[in-house]
């Protein structure tokens, strides 16, 4: 019976019409906890809460927590922090030097690459304007191409000679490729089949 009454009261609390009252009651509760509610206001709050047991419980809990916190003292450190903290304070001069060094490093990190690019540009600019420079570049590229050609030809000739002298090496290589392909096929077959069964 008592439970049913409580349930009924709870339902009453939650009707849309009373939700507005509830907000007003919460505002009164906050004022009361902040010590900004008059005696009359407090009496009014308590009067309204009599018909709302759920809110009344919440109010009781808020007051209990409020009392608990208000009775809890400002704790002092077990040790004197002064000496320990002072020992850790950075010296003003050192801070200044550190600041200057950091500033210079940040500045240098941006300026050094710019300066390097500028210097290289200045060194190269007069050379770039000379036709002899481009001619030498072209000749260098041609020589490099020729060298590359000789190297590739030598490599192919060497490989051809080797296969002529050692035909078994080719057979061995082909057999190796065959074995790899075969096992890859077997592996795929087995693994794919197993996965299909699992799914």
């Amino acid at each position: 019976m008592r439970n049913r009454d409580q349930a009924d009261n709870q339902k009453k609390d939650e009707t849309a019409e009373e939700r507005m009252d509830q907000e007003e009651l919460y505002a009164l509760m906050m004022d009361a906890l902040d010590g900004e509610l008059s005696e009359a206001g407090l009496a009014e709050l308590e009067f309204h809460l009599r018909a709302r047991p759920r809110l009344a419980r919440e109010w009781e809990a808020m007051r209990a927590v409020d009392m608990l916190f208000r009775n809890s003292p400002v704790l002092q450190p077990a040790v004197n922090l002064r000496r320990q903290t002072l020992a850790r304070l950075p010296a003003a001069r050192q801070r200044l030097y550190a600041g200057v060094v950091i500033y210079l490093m940040v500045l240098a990190s941006g300026l050094i690459p710019l300066a390097a690019i500028g210097w290289i540009g200045l060194q190269i600019a007069p050379i770039l304007g000379q036709p002899a420079f481009w001619r030498s570049i072209w000749q260098g590229a041609l020589q490099f191409g020729g060298l590359l050609q000789i190297m590739i030809a030598a490599l192919l000739n060497g490989a051809g000679d080797f296969l002529r002298e050692q035909p078994l090496a080719l057979a061995w290589f082909m057999a190796l490729v065959g074995v790899i392909v075969l096992w890859a096929g077997v592996y795929n077959k087995l693994v794919l089949q197993t996965r299909r069964v699992q799914s």
Binding site: N3, Q6, Y26, M30, L33, R54, R57, E58, W59, E60, A61, M62, A64, V65, D66, L68, F69, R70, N71, S72, V74, L75, Q76, P77, A78, V79, N80, L81, R82, Q84, T85, L86, R88, L89, P90, A91, A92, R93, R95
Partner: protein, 194 residues
């Protein structure tokens, strides 16, 4: 005191460590208490209080003398503690194990074991409740209850608006009430039978 404080601040700003030492002496209690309430651990709180003072010292140039030094100092401390709590959360450090009682509670009233036990129990309950709150709610609650700051001052410390602070305190109080009811923390507030 305020005039003296201004003199110490001016001297500290010029690099006078002993003047800053006087400021530490004056504020070590409030700063440590704030760190302890936020972090819930005396060792960490001492470390955080020291770090907050060092930060304050290195940032004295940014301190606006129009503001109260105490408010600025609390702001530096609470911001540092919030950073620590966020790091702690990212590292997934669990604080589920019971925290050791605060040393001050064990030594100050050691002559009366009953009072000492009651104090320890109360403090454990306070910390357990605070740990249910998210960092920003906890910050607002601690500044309101232990420092008796107005909503405007809390908003100043937390660099937020007065309405946001009111809302955080309201939600925090409701959340705390809910926890005490659910966990039956007070005898008169046992959970409602279903």
């Amino acid at each position: 005191m305020i005039d003296e404080e201004q003199v110490w601040l001016e001297q500290a700003r010029r690099g006078d460590k002993s003047a800053f030492g006087r400021l530490i002496e004056a504020y070590q209690g409030p700063v440590y208490n704030l760190a302890y309430r936020m972090l819930g651990n005396s060792g960490e709180a001492e470390e955080a209080a020291q770090e907050a003072f060092i930060r304050a010292y290195t940032r004295l140039d940014t301190y606006d003398p129009a503001r109260k030094f105490s408010t600025w100092m609390l702001s530096v401390t609470s911001n540092y503690c919030v950073d620590l709590l966020r790091k702690r959360r990212t590292l997934l450090l669990s604080l589920d194990e019971p925290l050791p009682p605060h040393p001050a509670l064990m030594s100050d009233r050691a002559d009366n074991p009953e009072v000492q036990a009651a104090d320890s129990e109360r403090e454990a309950m306070v910390q357990a409740l605070l740990e249910h709150l998210p960092e920003d709610y906890r910050q607002a609650v601690v500044l309101r209850y232990w420092y008796d700051l107005s909503y405007e001052e809390i908003a100043d410390v937390m660099e937020s608006s007065v309405s946001a602070i009111k809302s955080r305190l309201f939600r925090a109080r409701r959340q705390l009430a809910e926890v005490t009811i659910e966990e039956g923390m007070f005898q008169s507030l046992q959970p409602e039978p279903e």
